[in-house]
C-alpha cells in the first residue's frame, strides 16, 4: 500500500511538471510573437515625439499661417530671419524650412530671390553637437492672380536642430 501511495505521488509530480512546462512554453511562444513588433513601434514612437516638437513650433503664433491647418507663413519666416534676437527665443540650435514642391532653384532665400528659392534658414548655431527632427508643413504666403489675392501653399519640410537628447 505504501508503494502504491509513492507511485501516485510520483505520477502527480510528473503530471504537474509536464503541464507546467507545457504552459510555460506556450506562454513564451505567445509573448515572442506579441513582442516581435515592439522594437519597430519604439522607433516610431521616438520619431513621433521629436516630430511633435516641430509641429508645436510650427503652430506657434510666430510661424503659423491663419486659416491653414499645419500652415507656416513664409513671409513671417523671412521677417524673423532678420531678427537675431530670436536666435535664443526657442531654446534650440537651429530652425530651417526647405521647400519640396513645386520645384525652385536650390538656393538659400534672401530678400533678393524670395520666393524663388528653396531654403529659408532662420538661424543655425555653430558648435554644439546637434540632432535634427523634421516635419511636413504647408508653407503659405499671399500671392496675386487676376488682381485677386489668394493663399498660395506649398509642400515644405520644417527642420529643427537641438542638442543631443533634447527631445
Amino acid at each position: 500500500m505504501r508503494k502504491l501511495g509513492q507511485l501516485k505521488i510520483q505520477q502527480m509530480v510528473f503530471m504537474i511538471i509536464a503541464v507546467a512546462l507545457f504552459f510555460i512554453l506556450a506562454a513564451l511562444f505567445f509573448f515572442a510573437i506579441k513582442t516581435a513588433n515592439l522594437y519597430q513601434a519604439s522607433i516610431e514612437s521616438e520619431r513621433d515625439k521629436s516630430i511633435g516638437l516641430v509641429i508645436k513650433l510650427a503652430s506657434s503664433p510666430e510661424f503659423s499661417y491663419r486659416g491653414i491647418s499645419n500652415g507656416v507663413d513664409s513671409d513671417k519666416l523671412m521677417a524673423l530671419k532678420k531678427q537675431p534676437e530670436y536666435r535664443d527665443y526657442w531654446g534650440i540650435n537651429g530652425i530651417s524650412v526647405k521647400k519640396l514642391y513645386p520645384e525652385y532653384p536650390e538656393v538659400e532665400c534672401n530678400t533678393g530671390n524670395y520666393p524663388n528659392c528653396t531654403d529659408i534658414i532662420l538661424f543655425k548655431k555653430e558648435g554644439d553637437t546637434a540632432q535634427s527632427a523634421s516635419s511636413y508643413i504647408s508653407l503659405c504666403r499671399k500671392d496675386i492672380t487676376g488682381g485677386r489675392a489668394y493663399d498660395k501653399c506649398e509642400l515644405a519640410l520644417m527642420i529643427i536642430e537641438t542638442r543631443e537628447n533634447e527631445f
Binding site: N37, N70, P102, S135, Y136, D151
Partner: protein
Amino acid sequence: MIWNKKAQEEMVGFVLIVIIVSIMGIIILGISLNKPRNIEAQTSAELDSFSSSILSYTTNCEIPETNPRKIRELIKDCRQNDMCSNGQSPCQILETTLKELVKHSSYVVRNGSYTRYFKISVLNEISNKTYSDVISPVSEGNEQECVRKLADTQPLNTGLAENSIFKIEVCYSERNR
C-alpha cells in the same frame, strides 16, 4: 496485477489530458497567427502632418471666378465634374499633383529607401462604411511586403451629399532610418 492495471489506466488518462491540452493550444495559436498582419492600429504624427500639408497644397487649377484650388477643393471639383480654366479636368490635375507631391517627399519608394509601400486614396462613401475610389489610388511599392501598416484618414467636408475621405497608408522597412 490490479495495481498494474490501475497504473496503466492512469497513464492513459494522463496522456489523454496532455493530448487534449496540446490540441487546444495548437488551435488557439493557429487562430492568433491567422489574424491579418497589417493591422491599421496606429497613425503617426509625421503621416498626419504630411496628409494635412497635401490637402492645403495650392494647385495650378483655377476654376473661373475662384482662386487657384487647393487639393481639398479640387477633390470637390473633381466629383462635380468641373473644368479648370486651362482646359484640364480637376481629376487629372489632382492625380498628377498627388503623384508629384509623393515623388518630392520622403515617401518615395525606391531601392534602399525606408518606405516600402505607400498609397493615397480619395474615397467616397456610397453606403454605410462602403467606399468607392474618386480617382485611381496613387500607390508605390508592394503591399505584401508590409508587416505593419500605418494609416491616416482625414474627413473631407466637401458640402456634397456623400461623405468623402482622404486616406494615406504607408509601411516602412524593418531597419531604422
